[in-house]
Every structure is written in structure tokens, then in C-alpha cells.
Amino acid sequence: MSVNELYIIAPEIIVAALALLILSVDLMKLPNGNKVLCGISSLGLLITGMVSLVLLPDDTHIYDGTFVADEYALFFKVVFLVMGAIVVVMSYKTVETTLERPGEYYALIVFSVLGMMVMAAARDILVAYVALELLSFSLYILVSYSKNEPVITEASTKYILLGAFSSAILLYGMSMLYGVTQTTAYLGIAARLDEGISLSDPVLLISLVLLLAGFGFKLAAVPFHMWVPDIYQAAPPPITGHLAVASKAAAFALVLRLFAEAFGGVFTYEWAVVVGALAAVTMTLGNLVAIMQQDVKRMLAYSSVGQVGYLLMPIAALGMDGAGDLLTSGLMFHLIGYGLTNFVVFACVSSLAEHDKHSIDDYTGLGRTTPFIGMALTAGLFSLAGLPFFAGFASKFYLFAVVAEVAGGIFIWLVALAILNSLISLYYYLVVIRQMYMVIPERADKVDIGKWNTVVVMILLIAVVGVGLYPAPIVSWAQFAAGSIAF
């Protein structure tokens, strides 16, 4: 490696520098520190996104191929940087009302984005693990920035313990994998597996199961989802959005590359059945339990568990036939469609939480008292349920179609279950909408969410409608990017 090759990790270097810059600016104790830091962080992330687009050539790697800068990594890098910027902007109001020193908060978000970027680019299980831990540690701290004192203490303790536990499981699985293959590089593992190690090798099997369980925690798949509702309820809403969207997308980016590149050869029908069953249980349980929730954020937590079930379908189908890039693009597109939608919903939930509105009952009459948020939240919930003309409709349809298309249609029944789950989810979203529009509140005090929140929600809403009406650029980019993974 020469110094000249450092440009390959330039975006990562810039983001790391950005985090340090934020911390140093914070030390200056500026009178309008929040505004300045929010500006620096969001603009910094966006500019890095543009730099990555301009700078990165195709398919180069550094550090002996453990870190790769291909189209796939680039796609996710840009997505994470934009998502990070959205979270920063969404946080502005929350930070202003709850934190005296905003520096660490923004710096941690930037660090978490750095972790995500490396997760998508890693081609070595150790690099991937370190990046995952950078993300996890940032999130451990971020979730506990909450006013919600007794609840958050319990929730974040739970989150840290379970997180550490799952990291340990993951590490154990990785070490066993190393034991079998004597390498940590994805492509090296694939090469060794090609040489005749099959799933009948018990150590490999155990390591795969451990990896699946470890990632199951990070992705919040059933039965590893128990931390989700508590954290969603207690964490500051923008951070919940960050958890629900960006960190989940990062985990999927890692899992997809790892499983496609390292294990592509050993994928068999059994794998599809195991992961398919995991997907089925995850979506069904998440959506059924969501019906019973009274707190909007807990409901969204379970609904996000259900969404993970949909997103696991392409992982299950991976390796069944040659349509890997189509499947991957389905996953990538739904991560964006679902992610943008979730941002709209959490931006609304966040601005309502500032007025101490948390439960579905608190949302009574919002259609009258704050018509704009009522409309935006309705649009967001419809998009989550997968109704036109929002992003959620296009991305869900696309995802289901590409999954069903795999391998002569044995996945059609999994898709059928996913479609049934969409109907269940529509029901509990409609309950919220009914509460907002059809129940007359006892007191109809206007809720003023302020200009900032209005503008943020509006921009996100336009994005959701835009992607819903014309998704072709994102889909074709996703498919092109997916092509750079070696299946």
C-alpha cells in the first residue's frame, strides 16, 4: 500500500475528521453552538457524500483487499451519509430542548455513520466486526440521551447487555469460521469452502448458526428482537429513526455482502428454509404484536420488526439461482423506500413527542389541531403499509416481485405470507389514522410544531412521494451496484 492509495478511503477519513472537528468546535462553547454544530455535521456528511460520488473509481481495494471501494460500497456509503445528515437535521429541535452540550451527540452520530460506511465496504470479517462495534458503541451512548429517565436507564442497560451478548456470539461464530477456513477474508473463505468443506462439517454449521444469531440481534429479527420496543420507546425519536433506518440498513449491507461473497457456494435449500422460516416468524410476530400496542413508538418498533421479516426474504432466497443482483436491488431499494418513509414517521413522532404526545390516545384529533403533521403522518403510515403513491408501495411491490421470481416460484408462498402481513399492518396504522381524524378531542388546543420541524417533514415527504412516483433511477443504480458483489 502506498500513500497514493489513501484516496480510496478518503470519504472515511473525511468523516472521521468531521467527527473530531465537531468535538473541537464544541469546546469553543459558542453561544449558538447547536445551530453551528448541526450545520457543520449535516453539511459535512452531505459534502462527503458528494465527494465519494466524484472521487471513487470502480472496484479498487486497499489493505490487502480487506477494504473494498466498489459500486456496492459506494451506493451504501452515499445512502448512509444522506441518512446521517437527515438524522442530524431531525435532531436539531430535540437537542436544543434537551442537551446543553450538543457536540458529543452530533459527533457520535458521525462516528456511527463512519462505522456503517466501513461495514458496507469491509471484505474481511475482522474489519466488518470492528466497524459494527464502532456503530454499536456510538448507538449505546446515543440512545441514552433522553429525558425519559427511569425508562431509558432500563432500556439502555438492556440494549447494551444484549448488544454485548450478541457481539460475543458473533465473535465466537467468526472465530469458529476462522478455525475451519484459516482466513478472515470473505473471498478466501469462499475459496476454502469451494475446496470441499460443506455444511455437513459441524463446526462450519455451528459457526453459521452463531453468525445468524449474532446478526439476528443486530437486525432485530425474531426471536432476538426483545430489546427493540423498549429502546424505541425510550430513546430520543431521531435516534430511534437512526436505529430503525440507517443502522438496520448497515447491518443488512454487511450481512448481504458476507453471505453472498463468503458463503455463496454453500447456500442450499436448507439455508433458504431456515432463513425463510426466520423471515416468516419475524414478520408475523412483529405485525401481530404491533396490533396490541398503545404507545405509538412501541407500535412502530414492532412494525419495524415486521419489516425486517420482509427484508430477510431476499437473504433467504440468495443463492437459489442466478438472479442475485435483482434480489439485492430489491433489498436495497426497499431499505431506501422503507427508510425514507420511516424518517417521515419518526420526524412526525419526534415533533409530537416534544409536546408530550406519546400514546395513540394522545394523537386524538391531530388532524384538526395540527393538520400538517396529521397529513404527513397519514402519508407515512400509508407508505409503511405499502399503499400508492408513496415510496413504500413501489419498494414493497418490487421486493415481493423479485423474491417471488426466484427459483421457479417456491418463494411465492413466503411472499403470500408477507402480503397477508401487509394487511395486518394496515389495520394498526388505520387505528392511528382513525384516532387522528375521526375521534373528536375533548380539548382542541393547536399544536405548534415550529417551522424547523415543518420544513424537515415536508422535504422528507416530498422525497417519499418522489421515490414512489419515479423510482427508476434508484432501482437501476441499486441493481448496477449489486452487480459488483461476487455472488
Binding site: 400508492p388 416481485a401 411472499v415 394487511l423
Partner: protein, 495 residues
Amino acid sequence: MMGILSANILIPFLAVFVLVALPSGRPNLVRAIAIGTGGLSFVLSAIAFFSYDYNEGGYQLRESYEWLPNIGIGVTLGIDGISAVLILLNGFIFLAGIVMSWAVTPRNKDFFILLFLLAAGVYGTFAVLDLFFLFFFYELAVVPMFLLIGVWGSSSDFGNFSRTKEYGAMKLVLYLTAGSMLIWLAIIAIFVEAGLGTFNMELLASTELSRTFQIVFFPFVAIGFGVLAGLWPFHTWSPDGHVAAPTAVSMLHAGVLMKLGAYGILKVGMFILPEGATVWAPVLIGLGTVNVLYGAIAAISQTDLKYVIAYSSVSHMGYVIMGLATLDPIGINGSVLQMISHGIMTALFFALVGGIYEQAHLRDIRVLEGLAKRMGVTAAFFGVAGLTSLGLPGLSGFVAEFMVFVGTFRTYPFLGALAIIGAAITAVYILRLMGKVFFGPLNDQWTHLADPPKYQQATAGILAVALLGIGIWPFPLIRLIDVGVSDLLQAMGGM
């Protein structure tokens, strides 16, 4: 260069964005925009109707835009004889509905936003030749109903139980989306089974799908769309939903939206899964007959005027389903004509009932008596709609139902006989209702009633004239429908 069909879909859509951007508190401006949009889109639908060349047949006014080329989704537009007629119907009822909602309060802006989304969805469903977009527009037409009913609708209290508008809205949307989940699955299954990597309906229709596949998936399509068409036993959302809905929404929903269901069975079920349709036709026609009889018998025992009309809708949609399932050219012609006839007739019914309810604040037919003495115009138009409903010659219902009967007698004579009994029961409840509610002795408590405002009378009048016009001279519609039907039967294998 934008074509007529895309303009037809985009104009209500654009009106939505204009209204969203409009500051609230300008009800008159909103009304002006609404009327303008309705008028313009009626004109466009008429242009589409008249520019369809029935000598040539096939799909016309084609437009095609790429959308997601990698899995073969495109905005492909084009109409055949059947959709040309249905688009005209939508333009007509949509405009009438807007006029009837002139005085909607509160928040008429939000009301029209949702109404326009619904209209765009209906236009799109009729005009599109791509399964993905068919589903897209279909859902777009269904979902706004939830808020339209729940916010602007009305609840019914029957003393010992009540049907709230929230209940009606929730029931309607859950039933219809449950149906659309079946459609969604069927669409994806068709896409996978055909293996062409496209959602284009013409290409899919020209592929031979395996017989087993067609037999398995036709019920998904038939039930999925059938829910919206009011197919028994999946019809129970329809009375509750239609009664709870505000006038214009009932008009559009019973008048046009239910036809989307029948149209879907025809366009997806019969075009793409012809063998499945042939196998299942006896079941479908049986259910249609149950629809006719069950709807009519249920209508007899209702005490709420709007419930009578809603159940009569269920009954009349039975003729539509029967006609389709005959797979006989005359039967299908009658079925499509019945869609038009029933669409206009129900819209007229709901418009008039809305006018009565606005003043009387109740719809109980045990209490309403002798309204003709105070509401002469309403009574006259109600008479026209009622006589259409029971199939009096000279009105559109006669022509349509007659053709359905002919088609049924040629295929399933026994069911044809049962369906005629249904028409007789219709006569019982319609005539009894008219005799009591309009022409009975005037009750003192109704002396303050008067005919609705002139603009509402004029709307009702135009609808009534249309019923009469089609009844006397249905040929301009039939010749278009017939072209579509022969295209369909040819596609199904020259039966």
C-alpha cells in the same frame, strides 16, 4: 406529447397537488378548482370515448412510458371498447359528484383532495394495460375512502344497535384491502408463472399459462376483485360503507368504484386466465345469482332508505357478475351495459337520498311519508331511478338486464329463471317504498321539506335523462361495448 388518457389521469392528480399547496380557509376557490377539474376531466373522458374507433377495435389511444424497465413495469395506456365506455361513465359521475358536494363542510379542501385521488385511481384502472399500475390505481381508488367516510360520513342509529361511520370506514377499507392482497398475490404469481419478465397485460394475455395455474389462481383474482364488486358472500362491507359515506362518495363508490371490481375480473381474470375463467364460471354465475336474490330480499327488510339502495346495489351488481360469467357475447354485453346503467342509477338514488337526508336528518322509511307533496322534483327523479331499477322497458336497466337474461338463458336457464324472480322482488321493494315514502299521505312533521337547491335538481335531472336516453337508444354504447366483448372472446379462444 401527452395523450388524452394520461391527461385524464394526471388532471385530478395535478388538482391534488394544487389543493395541497393552497392555503386553507378559501372554500370558494377550492370549489372553483373542483368544478374546473371535474368539468375538464369530463370533457377529456368524452373525447376519449368519441375518439375510439369502433370499426377498428382493439386497444386504441395507446401511450407507453418506461417506469421500471428491469422487471418490465411500464406505464402502458390504452382503451378497448369496454374501458372507453367506463371512462365516460367515470367522467360523468365524477362531475355529478363534485356538483353534489358543492356545500360540503367542514374542510372542503381535504375532501376534494381525497375525492380527486379516488377519481385519478378510477381513470387509471380503466386506462392502464400494465398489471402493476392496474394494482397501483386500484389501491389509489380504494384507500381515500377510509377518510372520506370516516370524516365526512354519517352514522346510523337503529335504536338497539348502531352503525357508526368509523365502523363503516374501517370495515370497507379492510374488506377491500383484503381483496387487493389476493389480487397482489395473483399479479405476482402471474408475473412469475409467465416468466416473461413483464407486467404488460397484453403480453401476459397472449401467453398460454398452464391450466393448473389458471385454475388455482382464478379464484384469487375473482374473489379479490369480487370483493369490490360486492360479490356474495364478500359484500357485507358494501351496505355499511355506502350508507356511512357522504353523498358524493356513495355516488362515486357505488356508481363507479364497484365497477372496478367487475372490470378487474374481466380484464385480469378473463383476459389473462381464460381457462381458469371457463372452469370457474359456473361457480361465479351461481354466486351472482345469490347476489341478485339475497340483495333483493335483504333490501325488502331494511328500514333505512339508504340501506335499501345499498342492498339494491348488491342485488344489481349480481346481474353484472352473472352476465360476465355467462361467457356469452350477449351476456357480457349486458353485463357491461348494466355497469353503466347501475352506475348512473345508483348515483341518482344516492344523490336524491342525500337531498332528503340533508333536510329531514333521518332516513327511516317507517317515518318518512308523502314527500312527493313537498318534494315533487325529487319524487319524480326517484321514480325514474326506481323504475330503472325494476327494469321498466324504455329505461336503461331494462336493456341491460334483458341482455343478461338472454345470455343466462342460453347458458344456465335455471339460474336465468331465478334472476328474473330477483327482478320481481326488486319491483316489490321499490314500488312499496315509493308508494309509502313519496306518495303516501303527508305527515305533519314533513311540511317544512322542500326540493333541494336548483343545482342539485339539475344534476339529478341530467342523470335521469341519461337513464332514459340509454334506455331508448343504447346503440352508441352497445356498439363500443360489443367491439370490446368480441375482442375479449377472441382472446379467450374464439368461444
